[in-house]
């Protein structure tokens, strides 16, 4: 009898738990009635100027479209994928999702995103740069509108180079090593006071993307053309990683230095980073930003150059009951021209220091883009290697990061590190 009571109580508790759990799914912030639809947009634009820039566009849309109202929701970039995962699984999925291009494979495998209408797919294929289209394409499928495309180039501090008697930025790897040696300053204990070259550890993009830019500059590729095999364990890959290691061995680079802080403080003379950094440097360096120059990432020979492209995109959730309205809003924001002749997304991206993915936007805004430092990033849109966004893209990137760090710290040889990383990447690519 006692067990029976306990059993009933347990059954009651389980039923209540399931009822509670089911209450928490579905619905979300979406409200619909016969004449009004509210769409939710989940982004990582949680801080200004990103937050206010997006909100300005949304406010304009909401004012002119009373029947389709848009609501923004923002989390930090670090929480974005987790938030998408949890909300999608829990049935509280947003109608529109902004995502990092590298996650495209994961999202596509789980059928999170709806297929864009044919006219939107054509618009993206025709009117966006090669790098932008590559960043939103998985297995030949377009996932959404590229909202932001980033490429890599070499940042250098003109003042630090001039103090060391260098008047021209380096054009080859040998020149980078030479300039770095001239610029580096150490104290009596051997601590680096000014690093000739900046390498950052502990952050996957900061470790892997500069390496891949150097790899492309040496004529290499990340993965094979058909995307089924790792291609970085090649003479070009070995040369790129040996070059980075040689800078550490020569004590002109130290991965322990936080380059994101040290470069604006003029304690690092050269480093490879993406175009978004221009906006951050302007804010951090103020007048000293005039000391910053940008050139394409050089390769082993004069004329070689390389870059990596990645981006963010906005797609429509497959579970959204308002896909048509969501695409309508995205099309207005990303494809229709605004008062300045560029799309609203293009103008917004430019205002925060990012190169728009639509070349037509760059042309429309040409008069406003006066900073010559943007030029190498815009040019790189045409030759940069798109970051592969296959189904295990993030894991492959992390695996490569660990191998590169292994070489930097001397725990692995270049050959061993690239062979291990390629073996794991091959397994992940074939299991994808």
């Amino acid at each position: 009898m006692r067990w029976g009571t306990a059993g009933r109580a347990a059954a009651l508790a389980t039923a209540a738990a399931l009822a509670l759990a089911s209450c928490s799914t579905g619905g979300g912030d979406r409200t619909t009635d016969s004449d009004k639809v509210t769409l939710t947009v989940l982004t990582h634009y949680g801080n200004d100027p990103l937050k206010s820039g997006l909100q300005k566009m949304v406010d304009e849309w909401n004012k002119n479209n009373p029947s389709i109202q848009v609501k923004t929701q923002a989390v930090t970039y670090d929480d974005l994928l987790q938030t998408i995962t949890v909300r999608q699984t829990g049935g509280k999925a947003p109608d529109i999702i902004q995502a990092y291009s590298l996650w495209g494979g994961q999202l596509e495998r789980a059928r999170v995103l709806a297929e864009p209408p044919e006219d939107i797919q054509q618009d993206i294929k025709t009117n966006y740069s090669k790098a932008a289209v590559g960043s939103v394409t998985v297995d030949g499928k377009i996932l959404g509108y590229p909202t932001e495309v980033q490429t890599y180039a070499l940042f250098y501090n003109k003042k630090l180079l001039a103090e060391a008697g260098v008047t021209e930025p380096p054009k080859t790897w040998d020149e980078i090593a030479e300039v770095a040696a001239k610029v580096t300053k150490r104290d009596s204990k051997g601590n680096i006071q000014v690093a000739g070259f900046g390498l950052t550890s502990g952050w996957d993009s900061a470790v892997v993307h500069p390496f891949l830019s150097l790899l492309q500059a040496a004529g290499g590729q990340f993965v094979s053309d058909d995307g089924t095999k790792a291609a970085f364990n090649s003479p070009a890959g070995k040369a790129a990683l040996e070059f980075e290691k040689s800078l550490i061995d020569a004590k002109v680079a130290d991965p322990a230095i936080n380059v994101l802080q040290a470069f604006p403080s003029e304690k690092v003379a050269m480093t490879i980073n993406a175009g978004w950094w221009i906006g951050s440097l302007k804010t951090a360096m103020k007048d000293k930003y005039e000391n910053v120059g940008v050139v394409p990432v050089p390769g082993p020979k004069p004329g070689d150059k390389g870059s990596l492209a990645y981006g963010f995109f906005m797609g429509v959730n497959n579970k959204s009951p308002h896909k048509d309205e969501a695409w309508q809003f995205l099309k207005w924001m990303n494809a229709e021209k605004g008062p300045d002749g560029a799309t609203r997304m293009g103008s917004f991206q430019y205002s925060i220091g990012t190169i728009p993915g639509r070349p037509a936007d760059s042309e429309a805004l040409a008069d406003e883009i006066t900073d010559p430092n943007y030029q190498p990033f815009t040019e790189a849109l045409e030759y940069a290697m798109p970051e592969p966004n296959g189904r295990n893209g993030q894991k492959i990137k992390t695996t490569l990061q660990k191998s590169i760090e292994g070489v930097w710290t001397g725990t692995q040889s270049v050959d061993e590190a690239l062979a291990n990383a390629a073996e794991q990447a091959d397994a992940l690519l074939s299991s994808g």
């Binding site: 009571t5 999608q88 789980a110 059928r111 601590n191 230095i257």
Partner: protein, 323 residues
């Protein structure tokens, strides 16, 4: 006692005891049943909480450990048997070495440091005035966010300009690349984990010290025992139940903890500071490999379970009551 109370309660109202004397056994059973129902009704919020946040996730984790699932859509869970376990326990996998090895080193290192330091400090505090102040002082890291603790220690460890290297340089020594060198990165984080755990251990141990009767020390003193002898022969043996509690809770916390590692090293350089908790988090939330992450969680659970049983057994061998 409960039965007596029930009988008294049944007799008291309106003098009905004699009238119902013949039906006492069935009445008692009914009362017990009612009592049980009331008890379960009161327990139901906790049971509900327990079911939602422990039992259901546990069952889900076991299901996922035997499946391949990329997240997002529960209808796409695919049964794969023991494949996930075969993958993570494969000699070529990094999960066993270095990740599990790092996890054990991290837990053991931080527990040993915490225990030794907390026993010494608790013993010292027990002899000081203003004990509350000292306990509060050592407890402060516990109420400070891990992000703040981790970042401050990162600055202290900086190769150029960090306080610790500044002191080393002033003493004529070269800088140590604490977090950048794979050989020193894990021990450096272990020190911080131990420092951050000291407060709880000291709080519990000082309470344990207060339970040791002062007369033992007085008698030992009369017999001519010194401080060390008293500590070794009185304090330590009588503190053993408290030490066991601190040891078990700290080992479990050490094996599961990865917040400091996220903040201070991100598991690097390479996999030098990667631990099981962080790897699971990466596999699930960053790589979308929930099956692998769940299999890792179950392996870690078994390790924690085995270590806890071993600790209990060892203390029992020494005659320690643990319940």
């Amino acid at each position: 006692m409960a039965t007596v109370l029930h009988e008294n309660e049944q007799r008291s109202p309106r003098g009905g005891a004699s009238r119902r004397a013949g039906s006492v056994p069935s009445g008692m059973a009914k009362a017990r049943r009612r009592e049980a129902i009331v008890a379960y009704a009161f327990l139901s919020p906790s049971l509900l909480f327990f079911a939602i946040f422990l039992i259901l996730p546990l069952i889900f984790a076991v299901v996922l450990a035997l499946s391949a699932w990329g997240g997002f859509d529960l209808t796409q869970i695919e049964f794969v048997g023991l494949d996930n376990f075969a993958e993570i326990l494969n000699p070529a996998s990094t999960f066993v070495a270095p990740i599990l090895v790092n996890t054990l080193v991290f837990a053991a290192g931080s527990v040993v440091l915490t225990l030794v330091a907390s026993v010494v400090l608790a013993n010292a505090i027990n002899r000081l005035r203003f004990q509350g102040f000292w306990r509060t002082l050592y407890f402060l890291p516990i109420v400070t966010t891990v992000a703040a603790v981790g970042n401050i220690w990162k600055y202290l460890y900086e190769p150029s300009g960090g306080l610790i290297n500044g002191v080393l340089n002033a003493l004529g020594m070269s800088s140590v690349r604490f977090l950048a060198d794979p050989d020193t990165a894990l021990p450096s984080v272990v020190v911080v984990q131990a420092w951050a755990s000291l407060g709880t251990a000291i709080l519990i141990l000082t309470a344990g010290l207060k339970n040791i009767p002062e007369t033992y020390y007085e008698a030992a003193e009369l017999d001519g025992a010194g401080s060390w002898r008293m500590f070794w022969n009185i304090t330590l043996p009588l503190l053993r139940p408290t030490l066991l509690f601190v040891l078990i809770t700290q080992v479990i916390a050490g094996l599961q903890s990865f917040a400091l590692i996220i903040v201070m090293t991100g598991g690097g350089p390479g996999d030098a500071t990667n631990v099981a908790g962080f790897e699971m988090y990466q596999q699930a939330f960053n790589f979308g490999m929930w099956g692998i992450a769940s299999a890792m969680a179950l392996v870690l659970f078994l390790i924690i379970f085995a270590i806890t049983l071993l600790q209990l057994w060892l203390f029992r061998q020494r005659g320690e009551e643990t319940s």
